[in-house]
């Protein structure tokens, strides 16, 4: 869908679902994933439909991913950094009862 204008020399690397993704320092995670040809970043909580970045400016929230274990992060507003562990956000967050009890 997208190709890089120039072959950047100083690419950094992070992972998405275990796959190595190359990124230009300073670009958003969403941009790196689109450049790598990743089709969908999340599955909706309602029907499980695949979604990908739509607005690229923080409005639509269709690029939500999990970054280093923290869910609901906007991939279009988060800069790519070396070593990040990014995962697809799948449906609704599970309700963890043990966590709730521990918090009481």
């Amino acid at each position: 869908m997208f190709k890089r204008i120039d072959a950047a020399a100083d690419l950094i690397r992070f992972t998405f679902e275990g796959q190595t993704i190359e990124a230009r320092p300073g670009e958003s995670i969403a941009a790196s994933l689109l450049a790598a040809g990743v089709p969908a970043l999340r599955e909706t909580p309602v029907s499980g439909a695949p979604r990908a970045p739509y607005c690229m400016m923080g409005v639509c929230f269709d690029c939500l991913v999990e970054i280093d274990g923290v869910p609901n992060q906007q991939a279009c507003l988060t800069a790519a950094k070396a070593g990040l562990v990014v995962r697809r956000q799948r449906g609704a967050r599970p309700f963890d009862t043990t966590e709730t009890e521990a918090g009481q």
Partner: protein
Amino acid sequence: MSAAMHDAVIIGAGPAGLAAATRLAGHGADAVLLDEQAAPGGQIYRGIETCSPALQQSLGPDYAHGAGLAAAFRASTAAYRPETAIWQVTPEGEIWTKHQGRAGLVRARHIIIATGALERPVPVPGWTLPGVMTAGAVQILLKSAALLPEGLVLAGSGPLLYLLAAQSIAAGAPPAALVDTTSRAHERAALRHLSALIHAPARQMLRKGMGLKAAIRRAGVPVFRHAEALRIEGETEARAISFTSGGQRHRLETRLIALHEGVIPHQQMTRAIGCAHEWNAAQHCFQPVLDEWGQSSVDGILVAGDASGIGGATVAETSGQIAALAVLHHLGRLSATERDKLAAPYLAMRRKQLAFRPFLDALYAPRPEITTPPDEVMVCRCEEITAGMVRDAARQGAQGPNQVKSFLRAGMGPCQGRVCGPVVASILSDALGQDPQTTGYYRIRPPLKPITIGELADLDQG
């Protein structure tokens, strides 16, 4: 809360915010610019400080103008806090922020909201499929990440569509096709506004538009005019777009589609503060009620740039200057006479810059296919609510967008109604037979951006 009180906080680092902050600092005011992005420019000048000279050439001289604006701001004494999300602004001048996972509070006597525009939702069948983006999104990828679209089909109406086509051509990636949905009726209606061409900025804009269209023709990009009944096909991602043009059904195979039907003011923040809004029938959108300085119905809250009503980048820069001069007067740094003398050329310039707007508004007005889509089309992308479900809610007695929200959860997903708000409101006003002002809009509540309890607990009162 004991956070320091600033003279002025400006929210948004696009042309309006940069101009306002630079002007305020130039007169010695203690001004702080907060912005969600990592670098100045907003969306229109996105990536202006890091863009390569070759790419800047492809993006054109209007884009390059942003470099001077960003440089002047950098050279000013205005404080700059990038990568700062704002999740609440109160009428009392409290701005609640989030930066690197930490909540914070900033206080100001005056707030200039310069949060710009967002693209009008384009609810057509299949618009939620991966591979379908807004034209603005594709342009942001070009500006900020030097990514070229491959096999792109542009579909919709409005200047940005032609600009993106010409920019992609110049950067070496001509689009596969341009599907223009501007209707014959709108072309005729626009002709009535050609008298605006007595103003130089209007002539300049028309020349630019004709230049873009010529570049698209020269590149041999197929253009389908007066297109309607758009439909995007695909199971798990976009595979093709079909539409009617010239009395014939067409189908183009593509994996990348950019939709665009103009831009509207980003009203999330002004709504949440409680500023009064009014329906702009010419631009088919709500905008805050403002005086000529940008002062809203809430004391101390001003709005500049496209968030105050769509005028484009040059008008935004001018209105940023005007709002800043108003604030400088309120701060006692300029007398009324000094303010009026400094503002006079900007007020005159803005009138000329806005002269071509009625032509553009008439030509690129949204068609009913977009504002009142067929029943099966999804309108709330987050909660997966269709136009038909909204109409059912109206039949069951929902009197406005907020009741539809309670009935269906439309507008209650992660985007908090930013995308579906305009279309849910227009479907309802049509179904209820009301004018849009009577139907109204979602009530927007904080937090405007998601924030965790942990981030709140870590409050930074700097």
